[in-house]
């Protein structure tokens, strides 16, 4: 495995006595695509919340490129290079598709409040640049034509993709996808799978993927981490995991 980009070190969190995640250790290498699976309520989303600063861990810490992320707020995590999507789609519903993406470019833009309000040259220059970049990103997802549509009017599958595009726009090194294929039919799922593969290539990023659709997970993940009751119960290649009796018993079923 190449050098670890993201490292979870003894991560743990309790909610009023409930140990949702305990002693979670993982290293995600550069350019790696790792699956995170486990039964409902196992703590997968919670792990994402810990990795993105939504929750502060009660123990352990997160390292990005070797630097501790302790105490960082979500937007600071994003700045550091960790972006995510949500289990329940969270788009800026009344904004256009392209504006949704542009929001995520904000942290890379520099013009000042006055530059914007007074329409100084810096405003025009950067806005033009960002417009181009946002369109480029949409093109990756075959969504360029939808740029001016209002986000809430997109079909479900497109909304999922837009959310991913927005996360990418932050310039993240690590992308966390929480059940991106939920609610999609097999055809749509296939399309999504291709998109994920493409972006990994194009942007050279690492991805952690939570998903219950095994056809997807098994096909594209290089490595899978399985958790149950907040603890890792298995890790390995898709094939290893799929044949692990613990995993079958707790998650896959016969």
């Amino acid at each position: 495995m190449s050098k670890a980009v993201l490292k979870a070190d003894h991560l743990g969190i309790t909610f009023g006595g409930l140990k949702a995640v305990t002693d979670f250790n993982a290293e995600i290498g550069e350019h790696e695509l790792v699956g995170l699976i486990g039964p409902n309520g196992a703590g997968k989303t919670t792990i994402f919340n810990l990795l993105t600063g939504v929750y502060q861990p009660t123990e352990g810490s997160v390292y990005l490129d070797g630097k501790s992320m302790a105490g960082k707020k979500p937007h600071q995590m994003v700045k550091a290079g960790i972006a995510r999507t949500f289990q329940n789609i969270r788009l800026f519903k009344d904004m256009t598709v392209i504006e949704n993406v542009k929001v995520a470019f904000n942290q890379h833009m520099k013009y000042s409040v006055f530059g914007g309000m007074l329409r100084l040259p810096s405003f025009w220059k950067e806005e033009d640049g960002i417009d181009g970049k946002a369109r480029e990103l949409l093109r990756v997802f075959n969504m360029e034509d939808l740029a001016q549509n209002t986000a809430k009017n997109l079909p479900y599958g497109q909304q999922r993709k837009l959310e991913i595009a927005r996360a990418l726009a932050t310039g993240a090194k690590v992308l966390l996808l929480d059940e991106p294929a939920a609610g999609m039919n097999p055809t749509e799922t296939m399309e999504l799978m291709n998109a994920i593969a493409t972006i990994r290539e194009r942007f050279g990023i690492s991805i952690i993927l939570i998903e219950h659709d095994m056809s997807l997970v098994m096909k594209i993940c290089e490595r899978i981490i399985v958790i149950d009751y907040g603890q890792i119960i298995a890790t390995g290649t898709p094939a290893e995991v799929a044949n692990n009796p613990k995993v079958i018993g707790a998650y896959l079923g016969e």
Binding site: F15, N40, G41, T45, N185, P186, M190, H212, L252
Partner: protein, 234 residues
């Protein structure tokens, strides 16, 4: 038992449902499948009275449902597991289940039904005092199904019950649907997971952009090549 005839439904200018007709007979499991935005949820909501129809007819045991407000329809013995679960997030698991039995008055029996639900979903029993909003996605789905069963319905409408569930649980849920049906409850099932939905159902309807494009015996549809291509990912 449930009859839908020439149903039309719109959201403002969007005409979501065109002349949809379908029928669910007593004791059956009927599946309604179709892509995103096909109008499955809209159909269910209209049957339950959450959404107003533009025209058409919906009857349950001969009673006209379109003229009835939702709560009354529920009183007739229809339960609906809505899309997105819609559990009462600030109530505990146990309170959610009690709410499911709102139309029933006998305390002891309600308590028994709660135990039955716990029997089906032991996870819920573990979490019975947890505030439902903090449950994981799958736990919430179990709760939603459990809550619907609490009213002891004659007919159960389910909107994508397998969404977001682990493979093991998906199997379980479908097993439960089978059991519930076996205990005499008629089921109208909306699913993305066409493979499972067709394998459990007696009959099925395929919805595309608001229209019924195919209907028939579930097993037969499963063999249909178009269906295979579009919905089974083969």
């Amino acid at each position: 038992m449930l009859k839908v005839k020439n149903l039309n439904v719109s959201y403002g200018a969007i005409h979501a449902i065109h002349d949809v007709s379908l029928e669910v007979n007593e004791g059956e499991i009927v599946s309604l499948i179709g892509a995103n935005g096909a109008g499955k949820t809209t159909t269910l909501s209209t049957i339950t009275g959450l959404k107003k129809a533009a025209s058409g007819e919906v009857t349950l045991d001969g009673q006209n449902l379109l003229a009835m407000p939702a709560p009354k329809i529920v009183g007739l013995g229809l339960a609906h597991v809505p899309e997105g679960r819609r559990i009462f997030a600030e109530m505990t698991v146990a309170e959610n289940l009690e709410m499911g039995a709102y139309t029933r008055r006998e305390r002891a029996e309600v308590q028994q039904s709660i135990e039955d639900v716990y029997g089906r979903f032991p996870r819920l029993k573990e979490r019975y005092r947890q505030v439902a909003g903090t449950l994981s996605g799958g736990e919430q789905q179990m709760l939603a199904i459990g809550r619907a069963l609490m009213s002891r319905p004659k007919i159960l409408l389910m909107d994508e019950p397998s969404m977001g569930l682990s493979p093991l649980l998906v199997k379980e849920i479908f097993a439960i649907i089978g059991e519930v049906n076996a205990s005499g409850v008629t089921v109208l099932l909306v699913e993305q997971n066409a493979k499972m939905a067709l394998s459990i159902a007696n009959r099925a309807y395929v919805l595309e952009t608001g229209r019924v494009v195919m209907e028939g015996d579930a097993k037969e549809l499963m063999g249909n090549s178009e269906i295979k291509k579009a919905y089974l990912g083969a």
